[in-house]
């Protein structure tokens, strides 16, 4: 593909929407990764993916909008899981419980509803070219919310992510912040699944945060680097996928993976330990 072909491809509305969605998600979703890594709640994203699958199954059976259903159900799951954050063992046990129950219910709903399961499982690999304007708008809203929350509460967030007890003793509203973070993470993941698919959503969330952790020296600089890596990874991945005529999801993940590996190499060269 030459440059002229690329530009003519870019004039197509679905491609433009997908490109815009990637830029917007590159700005906001790496913060989700920063929060997940900071709170050490990696299993949450798997739980949310499974709950989203259940929502799509319910949407199919009951003829409701799967995105809206997924957002609502995932937000509710995030809210419930946040209430486990203060327990000594944390929330991972509850996350595992919700994950298996959600997937079991999804299979049951699909079976009882007698609908074609393929549409539900398309969620696993996503379809960026099928992104609707309303989904782009949603990504815009969630990215703006994430960025606003971060810069408004970054001092409280830094302390909360560093040491929950110390944050509580310092008057940080840890309960409210934790609920906000869990719900935002859940909703953002549910909204981003369409871009890369449930299996590859880490490309736009966790990987930029992991790469940024190797470069930044405090929460704010880590967040800024995560956004830079997320944006660059999405743009580079998109261009590479289009020029090589390959599926976008895997190319995005591999691009983000290369950036992450490079950050670890940089860190090793600096003599630091990640």
């Amino acid at each position: 593909m030459n440059f002229t072909d690329f530009m003519s491809l870019m004039s197509l509305p679905p491609i433009q929407r997908g490109f815009l969605a990637l830029i917007i998600s590159g700005l906001g979703l790496p913060l989700v990764g920063v929060f997940i890594v900071g709170l050490n709640i990696y299993p949450l994203r798997f739980t949310i993916m499974h709950v989203a699958l259940l929502a799509v199954a319910l949407g199919q059976v009951f003829g409701m909008d799967p995105l809206l259903l997924a957002l609502g159900l995932c937000a509710l799951t995030g809210r419930v899981l946040a209430s486990f954050a203060d327990r000594p063992a944390g929330a991972p046990g509850a996350m595992g419980f919700f994950m298996v129950v959600a997937i079991a219910l999804a299979f049951l709903v699909l079976s009882l509803g007698g609908v074609n399961a393929n549409a539900a499982f398309e969620l696993l690999w996503g379809s960026i070219l099928a992104v609707r304007p309303v989904e782009v708008l949603f990504l815009c809203v969630i990215s703006l919310t994430l960025l606003s929350l971060f810069f408004w509460k970054r001092r409280h967030l830094a302390l909360l992510l560093y040491d929950r007890e110390m944050a509580w003793c310092s008057g940080v509203p840890i309960r409210g912040l934790t609920i906000a973070l869990y719900v935002l993470i859940a909703v953002a993941i549910a909204g981003a699944i369409r871009l890369t698919g449930a299996l590859l959503v880490d490309a736009v969330t966790i990987l930029p945060a992991l790469a940024a952790r190797n470069i930044g020296n405090n929460l704010t600089s880590i967040a800024i680097w995560a956004v830079i890596f997320g944006l660059f990874g999405n743009l580079a991945g998109f261009i590479i996928a289009v020029f090589l005529d390959q599926p976008l999801g895997p190319v995005l993940v591999l691009t983000a993976g290369c950036i992450t590996l490079a950050s670890y190499a940089y860190n090793a060269l600096k003599g630091n330990h990640a």
Binding site: Y162, M166, G176, L219
Partner: protein, 191 residues
């Protein structure tokens, strides 16, 4: 486990709590902070019951913990000093404690003594912001001899109500009252 503890600390009073490892000293401080969720009885701070609910605003207590660095990300001394209390007062305290040139260093990269000084600077910032009580857990641990003396002098000169858990008898002697904890119980003693 701490049991049958009745302790009243007057405004401006300095109380040292000494005792062996596992005697309940740190548990006592954590209970006063509201960090222990399972306890019976009452803990009142300025006449108000201490809450253990994360949704409730915590009363103004400056906490100087004995705590290893935590978290998944680097957390700098500057972030620690600015994340609660009066930032400028904490920065001034950092200067007085000779850690001002460490502000951009992550807590995980500090020595034990530097970490203690950082927590103390933060606690002093919180006192300046209106916290009415200082709870210090082994404030002179991990410090060299001159550091121990410097921190002890600084702490006892503070015009604040404080409870200091310590193994440092020199520091305990500087306090107005000394309590000994053993097997979760507390008793007054003289040094």
């Amino acid at each position: 486990m701490v049991q049958d503890v009745h302790l009243q600390v007057l405004p401006g009073e300095h109380v040292a709590v000494i005792g062996g490892n596992g005697s309940g000293k740190t548990s006592l401080l954590r209970a006063i902070m509201g960090l222990h969720k399972e306890w019976a009885g009452q803990i009142l701070l300025d006449g108000k019951k201490v809450s253990t609910k994360p949704s409730a605003a915590h009363p103004g207590v400056a906490w100087m913990p004995q705590r290893q660095p935590r978290g998944q990300f680097p957390f700098t001394v500057r972030e620690l000093l600015s994340a609660g209390g009066h930032e400028q007062a904490a920065l001034n305290a950092a200067r007085g404690l000779d850690i001002h040139d460490l502000l951009h260093r992550p807590l995980a990269a500090l020595s034990g003594g530097q970490l203690q000084r950082s927590y103390l600077a933060r606690a002093l910032g919180m006192l300046s912001a209106g916290a009415g009580l200082l709870l210090a857990d082994e404030p002179t641990a991990a410090l060299d001899f001159s550091g121990q003396e410097q921190v002890a002098q600084l702490i006892v000169a503070l015009p604040a109500t404080m409870i200091v858990v310590t193994h440092d008898l020199a520091l305990a002697k500087k306090c107005q009252r000394v309590l000994q904890m053993a097997q979760g119980r507390i008793r007054e003693m003289t040094l």
